[in-house]
Amino acid sequence: MKNASLLHLLSAFLFVAVLSSCQNAETAADTAAATADAATETIAVAAKTADPTASTEYQQGVQVGDKAPTFKLKNIDDKLYSFENIKDANGKAPKGFIVTFTCNTCPYAVGYEDRLIALHQKMSVLGYPVVAIQPNDPEVKDGDSFAQMKVRAQEKGFPFVYLLDAGQQIYPQYGASRTPEVYLVDSDLMVRYHGAIDDNAQDAEAVTVNYVEKAVTALQNGLNPDPADVKAIGCTIKTKKT
């Protein structure tokens, strides 16, 4: 009887051991998969607007030649900014604004951070500061929370305002669909250029055309930017599933 109960104990122990080793294997596999692709965004839900009118409205947004929607959004310095109180590098009212929808978590947006900093440093002196707006819903994309925006801005030393589109009221008015996505707005608050920063998202060294710079130069010379609208691949702006 004593032997039998010992045997029983042993088998119970083995049972638990096998079970737990099984679980370990699964966890290990999961961890491996997760680390193998650390940059993969967490599973996010993109909005699929059920209401067709709402979806059309958000698809349309503004075109080149349209008035830029105004905003008053909180910056990482906890102050509110709008077209009225953003200054250029000379402390003057800007001649225009490089409104850029961008975020912390999109690999494309991250790939453009250094270029966006350089762009601001070059253009703000000319009167065209970068105005970065983070459009993702932080409840869907944790890494894009206001606190994380502050962290990232600090790490990279963003010289431009980095505003949170709290409640996601602004990006749909622009019709922005991805990060990064630029709207170059002139002093009359008219959209003059829309789209990509340059012609090579993947490789800063291989860029041949800096579209935003080129567009600013055109405005400086009283010309219309050409091209005025350039498409690029980017990450979907993250919203809650409706």
Partner: protein, 190 residues
């Protein structure tokens, strides 16, 4: 008492066998190293190295895939391993492939992974998942030109999916809400 020991041991045996990782189909066999037959049937793209998928550097070489006229329904999805919503909807395409195995439906996943990742990160993702649907890696940087050729209404965010059969064509500019949405879109063209 004896009985319960046998029972436990039996259960133990069962559990340890059920613990085996799901068999990875032919992960070591050379068949895995070749392009999935579907891609070659669809596009005759050259496979230049040991990757199980072709790398297309110029969109022009991919373009024919959007204009076949042969009664087959083509489901072409643009995705990337770095795109969360894209990876989240991959199971819908896998399920569709299983459900339409005997029908004239062809699914192609066009990866927009960065050029520097297509031989490493993308390969790892496909092997580890494993992803058995046909993949084509598109590395053409001239996005401004080819995005409009795929669909003029496409802004450039992924995922997107094009489903077409001859002249009937549907463009999905967002992630599918669920499998049913994808399946019924395909069904509507049959």
């Amino acid at each position: 008492m004896q009985r319960s020991i046998y029972l436990t041991l039996g259960l133990l045996l069962f559990l340890s066998s059920s613990c085996q990782p799901a068999p990875t189909p032919a992960s070591d066999s050379p068949a895995q190293e070749t392009t999935p037959p579907l891609v070659q049937n669809v596009l005759h793209l050259p496979v230049t190295d040991t990757l199980p998928y072709p790398i297309v550097e110029e969109f022009a070489n991919l373009a024919p895939i959007f204009n076949f006229r042969n009664d087959t329904t083509y489901v072409i999805n643009f995705w990337a391993t770095w795109c969360g919503p894209c990876v989240a909807e991959l199971p819908y395409f896998e399920r569709l492939a299983a459900a339409t195995a005997n029908q004239p439906v062809k699914i192609v996943l066009v990866s927009l992974d960065f050029r520097r990742d297509v031989r490493t990160k993308l390969l790892r993702f496909i092997r580890e998942r494993p992803l058995e649907l046909p993949v084509i890696a598109l590395t053409d940087n001239k996005t401004n030109i080819w995005i409009d050729q795929v669909d003029p209404t496409w802004g450039g965010a992924i995922p997107i999916t094009i489903i077409y059969r001859n002249d009937q064509r549907q463009f999905f500019s967002d992630q599918f809400a669920d499998y049913e949405e994808l399946a019924s879109a395909v069904q509507s063209l049959q």
